[in-house]
Subunit: 313 residues, 2 copies
């Protein structure tokens, strides 16, 4: 019988309709069909196509990770971030901020799930550097780090990369998590982690972090990764290393079914106390009219998804 | 410069990044690639594949519109709709309700946009009949009518059909609209209609209804259709006829670019006063990580989209 579930703390409802379920390999996708660009702007040798490099990491004089402005920026630092309302219904401003790309490797034949734990850890260090730097800029309230892998997850460039949009808003999902957390006497995610550690949704953990499939998963094989000890940011080297390790472990499983995916880093906005975490959203199904009215149907239970991650299914 | 816009009354933010914009014909999709089913369960002659027919409309002894239960129901009338919470974080119930399919035509070679205004009006009459009937059933709080056209809009069956999921929740999007409407002394949508009637976003209107592209459109070519006079449901024959006419006019434009789309009917929940309307969401782009954190990027401004609907572009 399909089950209705609410998110731990948000007013977000999901129908787990696993009677429609398929085995993980039935979700296996075709290999990426995005055609290779002859002049990939993220490849070594084409650095002139992306001017104003923000930073890079090098070895033996060659870069292996590079931060650049997004040429097709969704936000810009022109104008100002002033938001006005006309006629009580029209609220607008220019989309103020900075939009950056992090090229995760110089090797276009490798995806993030092919990199080493050390490389992914270094990527997290760069996320942290950029967040810290962008946050200090005038008018920036949040730097949203995210990754889109493959066409069904909304990207058209296969050369492995992440993005950061730093802007004057706080993303709605982060605002919702902050507001819902405040209704509890202490951080609810700290409690949720303790409960999920002993649940059928636990996937894997290491010294500092834990990965589990959330109780009201919206997407087949959705997985969240938290530092076990309350942290509002990617603060410590240990957390970054352990988060990277678990993320890589999850992605290596997703690689077996060629899953397109997004992930987002949710850290705490300024002067708030949100438990920092990563949400990984595999994109194996398509939201339809019912989902856009606000109730999500997920054909894979998080308990089955956890078996997939643990290698039991 | 990209513009940040808020929905008329909801706390929903969109970046209109039309500098990335394309002309409407650049969004033109391939023709549907869903393979034809040899044994299409919605075709005449295969009625035995879908037992327990709910209703039909016939002419000369042959049906031309048929309501049947969804064989792969997301909600079921087994069990009960009781929702429980364990451990303060786990809230669940069985997904209680009824899930129905409306086969819109017996002719599998026709899509909704190929039908006549009379046929679409009749479809609205059937929506209204089913809502009225389902609403009376014990435990049902809302009957969400929606349509998914083509694979990118979340369906795998091309034989033209709509769906209804009647369940014990009110969809979050409808709840949000109700709550936001209550903050105004009178229906805000009645005012919005008057403003949009004279805006660059007006697409078309007839005696009783109006179609416009919303100020903070989330999707390229998103279009909303409202009865001009405040109505909480699809109440009158005139409204249904005029809504159907404008919907068809919009869909015929979407046909020119083979657009996959969803639409949802938002009527007012019991004892509320929401202005009934239809939201049409063309699915020409893919939401990515940033959108799933809550800020949506739309590469087509609603002003440009309105030109497309008015045939000026």
């Amino acid at each position: 019988m399909p089950e209705l579930r609410k998110d731990y703390i948000l007013n977000r409802w999901v129908i787990i309709a696993s009677e429609r379920a398929q085995r993980p390999d039935q979700f296996k996708q075709e290999l990426p069909t995005i055609k290779k660009q002859d002049n990939c702007p993220f490849c070594p040798g084409n650095e002139h196509l992306t001017p104003n490099e923000i930073s890079r990491r090098e070895k033996n004089g060659k870069w292996y990770l590079r931060v650049i402005p997004n040429k097709f920026a969704a936000v810009t630092s022109e104008g100002n971030g002033i938001i006005q309302t006309h006629n009580q219904f029209y609220t607008f401003g220019n989309a103020f901020g900075k939009h950056e790309i992090i090229v995760e490797t110089a090797d276009k034949t490798k995806q993030l799930w092919d990199l080493s734990a050390e490389q992914v850890t270094e990527l997290f260090e760069v996320y942290n550097e950029r967040i810290t730097s962008l946050w200090k800029e005038k008018g920036i309230n949040y730097a949203q780090v995210f990754k889109n892998h493959d066409k069904a997850a909304g990207t058209s460039i296969m050369h492995s990369h992440s993005q950061i949009i730093a802007y004057d808003l706080v993303p709605q999902a982060v605002q919702d998590e902050v507001a819902a957390s405040k209704k509890f006497p202490s951080c609810p995610y700290c409690d949720i982690i303790l409960k999920e550690k002993n649940s059928a949704r636990r996937c894997f953990e290491n010294k500092n972090c834990i990965a589990f499939t959330p109780y009201a998963s919206r997407f087949p094989f959705e997985i969240w990764i938290f530092p076990k000890k309350h942290s509002t940011t990617l603060d410590t080297t240990e957390n970054m290393k352990d988060l990277a390790e678990l993320l890589l472990q999850a992605l290596k499983k997703l690689k077996t079914i060629h899953a397109p995916y997004n992930y987002m880093l949710h850290y705490s906005p300024f002067q708030e106390n949100l438990h920092c975490h990563i949400e990984v959203l595999p994109r194996l199904t398509t939201w339809a009219g019912f989902e856009y009215s606000g109730t999500i149907i997920n054909p894979v239970s998080p308990e089955d998804a956890a078996k997939f991650y643990r290698g039991e299914k």
